[in-house]
Symmetry: none
Subunit: 219 residues, 4 copies
DNA sequence: CATGAATGAGTATTCATTCAT
DNA sequence: GATGAATGAATACTCATTCAT
């Protein structure tokens, strides 16, 4: 008997769809359990149960707990990156002030994507295996920002590479600290933080205001 | 000189010294194991063994792994804080540029105290229990810096409280990222980072250069 | 006969049977260890080993030692209750003398079900968690006996509820004490004990022989 | 130098008094901890701490936990026995009805001596080592009662030995069950229980009312 | 492919007991 | 005799992972 493509394809597709659904359910469940129970108490058995999937199936799709968490980190980072990329795309041609403000705003938006998951990932998930992902995220953000800065080369007074690192690191740290550790700052003062962080970065990017430059400007 | 007290005292002192030695050995071992095996693989049994102390003794002095790690965090933070405090004391009366540069330098020095432990503590230790300590450290650093800024009130153009938060967070993030994730930046370029970070913060602290000010300066 | 269902069913049944076998082995082993080593020395690890089951499996089915022991208690109580219920059913319509004698005999029989386990359960098992079961057993026995007594309301001179409590408690205590602490009484004298206990209870159930009654009888 | 008796005696006495105080404190603490934490959670270290005594001293006076608990059991039994003995002495010459009623009352009184300790001892303390004590207590109670019954030989229709066993066991069980498991029975009905239990035992002790005897009495 | 029963090394923790001071 | 630091065997329990069905 010949297995006609029509008999096989659908099956394959069906099981592929099923696979994707299973993987999705597992990632969803992992994130949920991570938030609910914390990293240490998140066991593969609990995750499988929460996903409505047998423990055996979990191991069919992921070699272990670390890979599972890494996948969640990756997915979360992808979501964040989408926000950042979207923002950077928007302002590709805008002047520095606008671009930086948008970057800061995007950082704040990114922290609103899934704040609880973000917190667990940031505070409890050991950077080992997932470290690569986190690093990657940071690198990618730096690259994006550097590319932007390079189009503004004449407006900035510093090396674009270093400037991107400083800018991204700074903005990330400020928004993260504000969101996670000082919610009171954000509660009624989001605008102020946005303002301060933007000014901080823009001032820095303009570069050292050499006395000569100042004078020239003044003349 | 009468020696009788010394015949009595020593006993008490002896056992006290013994206790202290045990506790010290445990903290030492915890730090060592943390660095060597990571947080997750650091078990109380392993720590006790590494300390050359029985598991029973470990529990005589610490209610569990978390407390042990918290104590290590605390001790580490104390060491770091000593560096920061020393630096701030040095420049209490120095002008803003000098003060900020010194703060940045101190942050770099602090990262040299026990870099490997610092990394494990930062990357693998769940912020729970120990979180309090980390938060405290950050608050204390902010307070110190704010106090300094308040003596320079007329030199800075921003609210001291917020400025301290921004300054400390920024400097911490930059030095941390550089030390931990971009050692290449530091390797031959430590001076540049110091320069950039200082300029970043100082520029920010000077406050918004209102057009009027600029104009006035220009006239 | 179509066998297809049987090809599917067995799988489920197989693992169900496996589960049941594991649980059975655990209960068996618990009882055995309890008898052999006593309650305090009966550890979950030892029980699992004796059951030829991994410690992990033990915890798959029972939340801990207490639950395991409680299950053994429950099973033992069920066995005893079957004896009691059987006896009470037999004599549902029989006169008081016969019924009470049968109850006492049943109590003795019940003590023969698994005397060593009974002893350990009675003497070493902390009444906590399992207490509920023991209480329940007693209540159930009282209820059964009270129901019987209520059908003989005109033969007895006391409140059925209190009478049931007194009767059951008394019979239980006498048979238990005799079996466990005074085996010499039973050895060649089982009949005497049966006789005495029955007379004790029957006399009590007849109620206070008011002087008038005696007198009237005498006249 | 001669150590005069006067120098030694006091010391000895002093330390003997001290010893007794230590032992007393330990027993007191054991009872307290037993009540508060239950048998299983009552550790020698905790007991020593509660007694204000070093763990070393505990082992100076008691070979281990079991001995400590056994001593508490013994002391408790002594207290109970004092109540029973006092009661029996009171009614040595009183008629059967009075004697038995007093015995039942004494059993209830005994249960009021230290009810919480009694409960822990009865429900949680493994009968091993302490078993001897409990058995002894029961035997002694039987002996006392038998001696009493023997002085009433002509009033009772049963073998004194067996009768004592039945009477003591019965009364003990009824009062215990009522006090521990059915406090509602006692709360407002203490008198009724006393009445019922007494009647139960007295009726039993009178022995089988052989028809002939009844008749003879009637004639 | 899915299932879930089974595994057992590993973890935190307790506690009776010893012994140097 | 008193002290209490130290001990370490033993215990309850978890969890990543395997594998027969």
């Amino acid at each position: 008997m010949v297995l006609r493509p029509t008999t096989v394809r659908p099956r394959k597709t069906a099981s592929q769809a099923r696979s994707r659904a299973t993987v999705g359910a597992l990632l969803e469940a992992t994130a949920r359990i991570l938030v609910r129970d914390g990293y240490e108490r998140a066991s593969t058995n609990r995750i499988a149960a929460a996903a409505g999937v047998s423990i055996g199936s979990l191991y069919q799709y992921f070699p272990g707990k670390e890979a599972l968490v890494a996948a969640v980190v990756e997915r979360h980072n992808r979501d964040l990156m989408a926000v950042i990329e979207g923002a950077m795309a928007e302002v590709a041609d805008a002047p520095l002030e606008v671009g930086v403000r948008r970057l800061v705003a995007a950082a704040l938006e990114a922290h609103a994507v899934d704040p609880e998951l973000h917190r667990v990932l940031a505070e409890q998930t050991p950077r080992a295996g997932a470290l690569a992902d986190v690093e990657l995220f940071h690198r990618r953000a730096c690259d994006l920002f550097r590319a932007y800065l390079e189009t503004k080369r004449d407006e900035i007074g510093v090396d674009a590479e270093l400037a991107a690192f400083v800018g991204v690191t700074t903005v990330e740290a400020l928004t993260h600290a504000a969101v996670i550790h000082r919610p009171e700052i954000l509660a009624h003062n989001r605008e102020a933080l946005l303002e301060e962080a933007s000014r901080l970065v823009i001032g820095y990017l303009r570069g050292p205001e050499a006395p000569t430059r100042r004078l020239r400007a003044a003349v």
